[in-house]
Symmetry: D4
Subunit: 222 residues, 8 copies
């Protein structure tokens, strides 16, 4: 057996909290590295991760009474219990004492982060969190930038600091771990709502099975 | 004044009916000229046009007990009154007497069509309808193909027969015609639900206006 | 009812013949508007159409003892009865008396054509056939060019002469017409072999149904 | 000599007017078939054409007190003498009597049009103008859509009605016609301001010539 | 036999002349719908067509003492006998009496054209030539534009006037017609010099054959 | 001589085993970073590596009686001797004791891995294997994701843990090492079947050589 | 709390200087990884950073009397006080004693760099600065290359030496830090001038608020 | 002053040798991550670097009597003095004793490498050279792969071993260092021949200067 290799830092449902950073209706108009349809889907999917996996969630905004605007009501409705940390000026949320307090109040050491724009709000905070010693996982699907090139550069900058860039599905899979786990029941509606190709696959399977049973002589199908 | 030019055949809410062709959960898995998120959005938006504009709607499927599968429940729920014309074999829906009857029962002369796949189910039917003398408008956003190249070829084939290829937003705009029309109230929720960039724009405007009023001395805001 | 519109010229299994034009191993190396994997798949699928639908097939080559090389053995094996019309010089196959004779010997009026390269071998012949009054259908999937832009220009040139550009799947669908037709049994293996996404869909359906039946108490499954 | 071919309908500075359709700050946020930098450049260049070539100009807006917003001040500043035709509801500007009056008041028969979004505001109006018998030239650079595919479909729809789709540079060139014409002095600043690659070329040439003269013994350079 | 279809207007070596329009070193820097390597290759290939096929050739330039600059020496060297028609102002070369005289002096009725930029210098002249009743063939490979979208629009504008857009290889093939023709000896060096993939194919074939013969016992190889 | 540099960890036929992870017919429908034709080709090529190079092979699946479905029969037929490790729940195969046992039973220290989807099934397992101290080589061609961006992020995550991402051809080349090795005879059919451009090249060479010999006076060719 | 992680080296307005490297009108013509409109915008935005944030600025050029040409006057006008370091030969500006002196004269330890071309003038200097121990931040938006691939390789080369690659917006955000800071007043005009999507957003907000106030009974609006 | 940073390993004309690896006419047909025109240009440019900078050059081939074929004659003509190391089997050239001897005979410690295909012939050798302690610089422009994705993966693999990936222009610039150096006279023809955009720029400058002088009264121009 070869010697032990590099540690695989994986998401752990008991250690993780969710961060929703500057997902505001004004800023949403600036995102161009995803189509609007894809990005809205991804942003709502990100917000849903907190509910599905029971993760403490922190929502923060930047000057929301200005052009950046408020968080979409759909996201607030998913988290009725969360108080939004409304930053009146700090671009890097970590520079806000209220935000740092909210982070520490979660008691967690792993943070799943997404925000707008990737190269500013997401990257600055992620880099500060990593510097603090937290394990940071950036949800690439739900962070948006002015263009793909800016997003790529920001992701590479974060990687250089040890931040892991993941898709939303990888985050969900790493949290859930086992299809037999009770938590997995929470993953199914995420797939149905936010991963359409997965949804069609699940539904096709169910329809085919229902059809097979329906084709049996009446009374025999399970 | 120069002489009268080519006639502009525009959609007319009084002449138009909506066709939903083979939007089935199995076939939805085959579409690759849109991302899954975009295409589900577009297909549901297409189905909603019938409701929003009060258009007679015909839904048809191809061998739905086989791999093609049933229509997504969301679409059926939008049209509880519509009987699905379930074709057991005809690839071109026009070859089905039941479908032809359903078309004629609408009493309309303009048809807004979308289907899967663009080069087969959509194009064959659209070409037959055009040959019959109907005015055909294909919703490009809601027809899907194996790849963009197949869709392009199919759209060009339809254009050569006088079929007009439009975006969903162009269809909605041509039907509604005037922002002051009562029918326009039906367009707003379509934008909010299916055109995210438009939704953020609308919401940003409303938030800015609400903010401006809230900043007034209490009691003075309209 | 509005007046009769433009005629829909559709493929008819009784009128159609298949043309395989300069699908030679040397020329196959020049094609760059498809990946090599896609193009080999498409070229073999094109050749299979003749067998599946019982269409008279004409294979022709250009200076095959030179760098253009011979036709892949897989294609010849599909058509053991066909004599290859080996042109020693004519770039446009229609300039070859032997080829014209082979065309006429088919007794058909519709020709499904694909070849390498699209802008020369396919387009020149297709334009000559159209000039002769034949109905020409070009299989876009199985014609290859030096780059996409050359293919686009060639397809537009053909369209201007009334030639219809179709995907392979549209050709198969327009020939088969009905899933209940005996001919459709021939389409299933085409899908399984040449349209992988369709193949996985079909197999998933079958697996789901088999699973549903297997889950029944023994002896009850149909 | 072969017989006379199809008429080349070219822009004529004496027959042409400029139309600026719904270039509004809200709608500008929706455009995604150009980068924001390119599109702002192109929209301002379009507005400048009226000044450079002394064309009567009509500016119109759609519900500008709502989310669509006002026209950028930069455009209004270019046309201090133009009264904006503010439509309170009509999506197709031709449906507005005030707009029709403004068109007729120009006394022109050729219209250079650009607007947001291409498939609605630009296409609907262009199609109506063509139906009226006007010669319509759409500035493709300055019309924006939700995505490239929607723009392509709209441009094809316009082409089918005889509308010519041109780049801004083609419009300027067809209006100016001759580098020696006095009007051409107006084209140089357009190139310098809106066509950066042309600007660098012009400046490089001037710098090289200045350098060559500077290298001469003092007093000899022209 | 079906009735005679649309006429196939094909290039004829006895009717054709070559036009080289504004292929100038300043303008070459503006082209962005091809990589610089591809475009230089294509422009030189275009110029070579005149030599290879013995076509009368007309070269014209626009204000060549200004930033547009002179024609690359490589092109002039290919055509030592051609007098360049140097236009001091006319953007559309057809507006120049000297150029019209040069066209008429060729005594030809088919013109193969390429120029910079596609939407101005190429399209304007091509449209005028078509209007005059000439048959016009635009070499898409050797016309360059500011971007692909401008080129696409210009090509569509030309197509609408009956101009045929072809690749360089299609032009060469349609002129040569037969690999056995003496003229074909002129095509081989074009392929070797300007179509690298064809060159490697030809050379691979020759190397393989030489290798096969070399492997024979000495003295036996042909 | 400069000092010894970083160790080049290369694949070694004596140390390597092949892993086929969740290549199941349901999951195959979800892959969108390759065309279906390319991906099926690549997945089958991956499975063939085990046979060609005589590598111990482990096949595993995830809940195969559900929508994920079974492994394609073509893959099972290549490995009749392999028992599929069917995981009923573990997303990361390393979490399955049966799978860990199968890995250890190979007695190998290098693992060539591919799976669906890249960011979940491939990456999680690869990261765990690397943590265990194994040398991991991911076959990028045969791992599929929802989109290219998710695949890129997953590959970068694996690279950060020292996992090497390779093409299938690089894997084959690094295992075979020498064209004269007996093992290389196994590589030829892989190229012919799964690398079409290589296949055409090989066949062209053979045809040219055969032609050269055939051209000799009868009896002299080797 | 986990232990302190990797240091986040962020831009600090007190430590940073701006470098403008070979942004010359000849070299600007060579850049092809951005559209000309985007790149001019980005280059002017880069130059403006020095003014907006009061950073010492160093401008350097390479053989500016030759084809590389002078710096655009717009950039010089932004920095009337800066003496351009005109290198007569050194490709890597660090090889120039005058340039090294200019760098040291700034007294800063962080350098924000952009130049043409990315892989030569930007990368060579950035690598030398990093080797000297400076903290280097490359503005990816304002460095241009012959193609995207060359830029990607150069950026990766710089990253391997610890140089951080950022977007212009990230640079501005990291310097400004807080929307309430007096320095932020300088950021607003940058957004308005160089980030059009941000400009439209800001203006839309202002227009909506003005509209809301205007809709109040006269005299009541703030 | 901050402490000394990471060492910048730059190319040094006195330490460097050039490697031309498997640039063979058969393999050239397999390359698809560049257009054929670009890649031939880049491969010839790579070979010219040895001549221009007087670098010892090693050319090697793999089974050149088979389908891989010989090196293009143009490359051999550039290096009449070089004996090609013809490997009869070793895929990684480092496995060949003759090749290792040729490397050592150069007496150099830096190697500039390019080859076909990137992920096999280039990467394997580059990784072995790096392991030996040499400094390796891969010319990305002149290494070709089956597709861009395979090239990206191979380049990342090389980067992880400290190999630097550069463009051809970066290599030339880092070797030449100063426009005033005598060696730079060798760079001008490289730009003129292999970097067309640079060539047009240089020529435009010369033409403008010649024109400025020609415009002077006769006898005064320098």
């Amino acid at each position: 057996m070869t010697p032990r290799g590099p540690k695989y830092v994986r998401l752990d449902i008991d250690k993780a909290a969710l961060l929703i950073v500057d997902h505001q209706i004004g800023l949403l108009q600036l995102v161009r590295d995803y189509s609007p349809e894809e990005f809205r889907n991804n942003v709502f999917a990100h917000a849903t991760l907190g509910n599905a996996f029971g993760l403490p969630t922190v929502i923060t905004t930047s000057t929301e009474t200005g052009p950046n605007g408020p968080v979409p009501q759909e996201i607030l409705d998913l988290h009725p219990e969360v108080t939004v940390v409304s930053r009146s000026g700090e671009i890097n949320a970590w520079d806000s004492p209220e935000f740092r307090a909210a982070i520490r109040a979660t008691g967690k050491t792993q943070f799943i982060i997404a925000g707008i724009v990737t190269d500013v709000c997401t990257a600055f905070l992620a880099l500060s969190l990593a510097e603090e010693g937290y394990e940071v996982f950036a949800n690439d699907d739900a962070s948006g930038a002015f263009n793909k090139r800016a997003a790529d550069a920001a992701n590479d900058r974060m990687r250089a600091a040890g931040i892991q860039i993941l898709s939303m599905f990888a985050i969900a899979g790493e949290l859930a771990r086992d299809w037999r786990s009770p938590i997995f029941a929470e993953v199914i509606p995420i797939v149905d709502k936010y991963i359409p190709s997965g949804s069609w696959l699940f539904r096709s399977h169910a329809a085919a099975q229902a059809g097979a049973k329906a084709a049996l002589p009446s009374g025999l199908a399970a």
